[in-house]
Symmetry: C2
Subunit: 225 residues, 2 copies
């Protein structure tokens, strides 16, 4: 971290070739950079199609300029750029999963509430995937634990149980609180909070994530609104 506790961030444009991540990680480890976040993907459209972008966030090191210089010298690397970290740009993420009319209403409530928070300087994102089907929802809920900056999950629908409930139990253990709508099935028995109004469910999720609000899901855990 630098003095403000904010990590450094770099992006590297390179050839999509086996071993590039190894070479980059080798240089970063030699500079003592403890990597907190990485993202890598292959560009699929535009002028740089088929090139690879690597993005890193890492704790402060003595000499970032020399790190950048040395990364630039790896033969597959085209360019190295400094950036603000994602936590400063997009902030914490509210994740909304579910299908039908209710999922868009949860998103509406969450986006409107996040707008009120972000205008005061916070950074809260609202990420929604409309989905139906027990297997599909269970996989998506379980994968929330692997999403960077995911801070709370809202399950929006009228019937969820079985494997979805197993995923809820699993991600709660990993520290992700779960809000669900009032619905049929076993999910409401395992969620941290059950909310009848979809708009309010979205609002509660943002209030929980906010660093300025006084609301915390764990203080009303197990209640139904």
């Amino acid at each position: 971290m630098n003095k403000t506790g904010i990590p450094n961030a770099l992006s590297i444009l390179s050839e999509n070739r086996q071993g590039v991540l190894r070479d980059v990680a080798f240089v970063m480890a030699r500079h003592g950079a403890n990597i907190l976040t990485t993202q890598q993907s292959v560009i699929s459209s535009g002028k740089q199609t088929d090139l690879s972008t690597l993005y890193f966030e890492f704790e402060d090191i003595v000499d970032t300029d020399s790190l950048i210089h040395e990364l630039s010298e790896i033969s597959e690397v085209h360019s190295v750029e400094r950036h603000q970290p994602f936590s400063e740009i997009y902030g914490k993420r509210v994740i909304i999963l579910g299908g039908g009319a209710q999922v868009a209403q949860v998103a509406l409530g969450a986006v409107n509430e996040a707008d009120r928070h972000n205008i005061r300087g916070e950074r809260i994102s609202v990420d929604t995937i409309p989905l139906v089907g027990e297997d599909e929802l269970a996989a998506a809920a379980e994968a929330v634990s692997r999403l960077p900056r995911a801070s709370v999950l809202v399950l929006a629908g009228s019937i969820m149980g079985g494997k979805v409930t197993e995923s809820v139990i699993k991600i709660k253990k990993l520290g992700i609180p779960v809000i669900c709508l009032s619905m049929v099935g076993s999910v409401p028995d395992h969620a941290d909070l059950v909310v009848t109004d979809p708009i309010q469910a979205g609002v509660f999720a943002v209030m929980h994530v906010s660093s300025k609000a006084v609301f915390n899901i764990y203080r009303v855990q197990g209640r139904k609104f």
Copy 2:
């Protein structure tokens, strides 16, 4: 890729220690795994607080079981799990940026439209960050080029120009199409599509991303609806 063109995905739970990524990348390169996507983050709550999760997607290799075995033997590694890749779970991402009443209406349109597509088997996510301010919006728009699976950007607001327009020009070159609402400022002069109704702007964004819809922004480029 495996036979279906879908990459393999692994997650690794490990100590948060300098050099772990290097050691993991070294083993993966030795197995000939061309890494397409990586994500790493430090767990901040729950039972596994302070441990690091590494997530990889990579093209098919001869012997994934032996790769998993060798990764498990790295001393800092606690566990290695196989997963579905994110592209199969959350799919392509529609990104919505902007502030005020309109941003939630764009999200509403996009989420409802994505629900209709996903119920037929597609995977389209709608990710929204409500933001105001030229610098804040310009940074968030520019950073869309570094978001994995980001496929289209919608700018929702009533006035945008200056640095935001510079970011629009930059990400268009990187292959991300841009839709904006009808608004004051120079952004509408540079967007691929200008849409007056925020709900329709969200719908168009999803239609463009869809692999089943017949709509393509580039076929109506420069038009205003």
